[in-house]
């Protein structure tokens, strides 16, 4: 049984990060191409939180940034790349050269991670699935084990449930009771929130009523710790119905991240000296027609 649930609290993003993310935490900033919580990750960087264990199926630009800023002790993941562009250069620098410091790696397949989040949401200690057959990750990752079906004798792969200390996601809307609506490509965000001890949701807007389809992906307010209105908070990722993906920014990142000094200069200008309110400007030219 979890601790008694309370209604989501509305607050600023700096407050939400300060109250919910601590150095040493295991944290997921989840998003599957769509709705990636850039604003939250940038706020975590500004607050200088250290020794994080980062979890995500598809670490991309924000994880490159967190790693490059030296905030990450360990990365648990299944595919690390800049979608449609290439490799993550800060991640490579950490893994290949130990800069700015060494990075511990726990690597899975997508199926394993998706099942592990699902098991976390379902309160189970592990997930069983048919996977990793002949795959070498099972040899280098001691957290890949097996269970045997008590009815058929089939051996299945087993991985521990993912249970982050805190999960950050970005969503389209919340209503005034803190109920959150996610639409379109919903990814693994519902599971990532339900699996976590605490959760922070940034949203494009807060509305009186969600007017959601009965079977839409909705997180009730009492499953969320904090809600912050941060328009554009997914940029350069996108928010279905609000603004499109800023592909130019993803392409530009490859060059920015290529060298340590260009990376650090960019982080200073665009993250350390910026604030959550800046995201709204960044997506003004990408807004969807109303």
């Amino acid at each position: 049984m979890r601790e008694k649930q309370i209604m989501a609290q509305f607050m600023t993003l700096p407050e939400a990060v300060a109250q919910n993310l601590n150095s040493g935490d295991t944290v997921a900033f989840e998003g599957f191409t769509h709705l990636i919580p850039h604003a939250s990750a940038h706020e975590a960087i500004r607050q200088g939180i250290k020794d994080l264990t980062l979890v995500r199926m598809t670490p991309d630009v924000i994880y490159d940034q967190l790693i490059g800023m030296g905030m990450v002790k360990k990365l648990i993941f299944s595919y690390a790349g800049n979608p449609g562009v290439g490799l993550l250069r800060r991640l490579r620098d950490a893994v290949e050269n130990g800069w700015p410091h060494k990075l511990e790696i726990e690597e899975h397949s997508h199926a394993a991670m998706a099942n592990a989040y699902e098991a976390g949401a379902a309160g189970l200690p592990f997930a069983a699935f048919r996977g990793y057959k002949g795959a070498e990750l099972a040899k280098v990752n001691p957290n890949i084990k097996s269970v045997t079906c008590p009815f058929t004798g089939e051996e299945l792969a087993a991985v521990p449930a993912i249970r982050p200390d805190v999960t950050f996601i970005h969503a389209q809307k919340a209503d005034r009771k803190g109920n959150v609506l996610i639409e379109g490509i919903v990814g693994v965000q519902k599971e990532a929130v339900l699996a976590a001890k605490r959760s922070v949701v940034t949203v494009e807007e807060i509305v009186d009523h969600l007017s959601a389809h009965p079977n839409a992906c909705v997180l009730p307010g009492w499953t969320v710790s904090a809600i912050c209105e941060v328009p554009g908070g997914a940029h350069p990722s996108y928010a279905h119905g609000y603004y499109s993906r800023d592909n130019a920014s993803y392409i530009a990142w490859d060059k920015i991240a290529a060298e340590r000094d260009t990376f650090l200069a960019w982080m200073k200008d665009n993250v350390l000296e910026a604030k959550p309110e800046d995201f709204a400007d960044r997506i003004s030219h990408l807004r969807s027609p109303a």
């Binding site: 769509h34 997508h110 119905g241």
Partner: protein
């Protein structure tokens, strides 16, 4: 009417597209596989079901997605499910007939490496990792692979078994208890390869127009096997080529405009 003015990459994409049937349910990797799958859908296989691992089922994008999670995939899909459901009900559930993969490094038995170049703990190059590939390779009915040939990509021995093809060949899949067919087809920019029914080694069965055996061997790191009856890949038809070029033009216009993600 077949065309004579086309690039090797165009030939590769079109030859790969032809392999998909109208009744297939295809798990689509990003990049070259995505182009091939959508050309198939826009030509001979209008009812092919394309699934991207972001959860979009039965998608029909007008431009090629830059990532597996572009907004148009969801907008045009029959339904969009969560990622855990995608991997549980759809992939593991045995619903996918063809998994279409690219490869950074591949061997003659269709084993693929997208994890590291060099040693795993001290890699020379850290690649993105497997993503969905390990279970796509074992859960789909069969696997089609498409990539541009090079000695760097097609190697005698891969550095890491990210996803399992036919292992060391022969009945290696069966010995591991895998019941699906694994890699059955590889389409490169030079040739069409099929796996030998017994050894499960990739064998060139068709050379693309103008390509010689020597050209295939020159860009492959292992000693290439050629079929006894080696054929020639039919050149792209006018409609195939136009479909691919229009798709690429729409894609380029959309992605350079910076407004790809979605446009609801």
């Amino acid at each position: 009417m077949s065309q004579t003015d086309f690039t090797p990459t165009e030939m590769m994409t079109i030859a790969a597209a032809r392999a998909l049937k109208n009744t297939d349910v295809c798990f689509v990797g990003i990049g070259a596989p995505s182009a091939a799958c959508n050309v198939a859908r826009l030509t001979h296989a209008p009812d092919v079901t394309l699934i991207y691992e972001s959860g979009t089922i039965g998608t029909a994008p007008s431009v090629l997605p830059l990532s597996i999670g572009d907004g148009e995939l969801s907008e045009t899909a029959v339904t969009t499910v969560s990622v855990p459901e995608m991997f549980r009900y759809w992939l593991q559930g045995g619903r996918v007939t063809v998994g279409f993969l690219g490869a950074a490094q591949i061997d003659r038995f269709g084993n693929i490496n997208t994890t590291v170049i060099g040693d795993y703990d001290h890699p020379k190059t850290r690649l993105p990792g497997g993503g969905g590939a390990p279970e796509i390779a074992s859960s789909c009915g069969e696997i089609f692979i498409t990539l541009k040939q090079s000695r760097r990509a097609m190697v005698e021995k891969i550095d890491f078994f990210t996803s399992f093809g036919h292992g060391e060949g022969g009945d290696h899949r069966a010995r591991l208890g895998i019941t699906t067919k694994g890699p059955t087809l590889m389409v490169t920019d030079l040739a069409v390869w099929r796996t030998d029914p017994v050894t499960h080694e990739f064998t060139v069965v068709l050379l693309h127009p103008g390509v010689t055996r020597e050209m295939v061997q020159a860009e492959c790191g292992w000693t290439v096997r050629f079929a006894d009856e080696l054929g020639e890949t039919p050149s792209p038809t006018e409609i195939e080529l136009k479909t691919l070029r229009d798709l690429n033009a729409r894609t380029k216009a959309a992605h350079s405009g910076g407004k790809t993600g979605e446009a609801a």
